[in-house]
Symmetry: C2
Subunit: 145 residues, 2 copies
DNA sequence: AAATTCGTGCGAGATTTTCGCAAAAATTCT
DNA sequence: AGAATTTTTGCGAAAATCTCGCACGAATTT
């Protein structure tokens, strides 16, 4: 993708907030015609600046009321496990997010479950492995953004 | 919202993956008519099951190449600071996500910046406050989901 | 078993997006 | 600088998509 100008940035800003905005709505806020806005958005999608569009589903209504952040530390002698780990996490529906990090821990996971029972089962199943040295669970009380 | 049936769950699953799917595409995958799908989706939005729709913008192209997770510990004697804190975090563009948690730390932040310099400036500006006891920065090497 | 409620498919009408075109604006070349 | 080229714009028509009223069928209530 070439360069993004101020119009593109404004469009991205708006669509990050609400991706269902119509061409006319965008036109109003951006100061271009509807067609011009939509053409630009189309291009942003094609070139991968906009990777995808997703619906944000309320965790509550979805029955997943509990969110936990886990700091994971692996045994230092099994670096091969990292890639396998990531792939497995990607498949687990409980794992909403997974970051591989530097520092005192190796992974930061965001876990979404229905209740404590489900979380216990998850921990039992996933974290009680020989190559996992230690994990720290932080229950989320509230979130922004 | 009353109860969600298997059609609703399937629709949510699909729209979480790609919220730009058309009525016909949904109809194919779900096994209802286009109109029925769109009516259901409309209802899911109205009742708040679908909270919002957002465009996912590539952090790379957006120039924010660096992601850091911060574990924040506040001084125990300033519980009033928590609400203020959250409100301030909500306004900062660098703060992509903010969770208030229990355990050894109080907040888990996900920070998105261009480079180390910008991160340093952010840390300096935000974390060097008397009511912040300690912070731990985890640079993100890679992420899933 | 009739009445009510609820969700469906169909199809018309409304809205939104896409696309071709000519003109304007920006960029490159001489 | 000024001509030539490329890019992007706005307009408007055509295509695609969504919304909504309607009649019907299934499930639930009375």
């Amino acid at each position: 993708m070439a360069e993004l100008d101020k119009f593109d940035y404004r469009l991205l800003e708006l669509l990050q907030e609400n991706s269902r905005m119509t061409g006319n709505e965008l036109a109003d806020k951006v100061g271009l015609s509807s067609a011009a806005c939509l053409r630009r958005v189309q291009r942003l999608r094609e070139t991968g600046v906009i990777e995808r569009d997703v619906a944000v589903v309320s965790p509550k209504v979805f029955g997943k009321r509990m969110m936990v952040i886990v700091l994971l530390t692996m045994e230092r002698d099994r670096p091969d496990r990292y890639i396998l780990m990531r792939e497995e996490f990607a498949k687990m529906p409980e794992v909403v997010q997974c970051h591989h990090v530097t520092g005192a821990h190796d992974f930061v996971l965001r876990i979404q479950v229905s209740d404590m029972e489900e979380y216990s089962a998850f921990v039992e199943r996933v974290f009680h492995e020989p190559y996992i040295k230690r994990y720290e669970s932080l229950a989320v009380l509230g979130s922004l953004k």
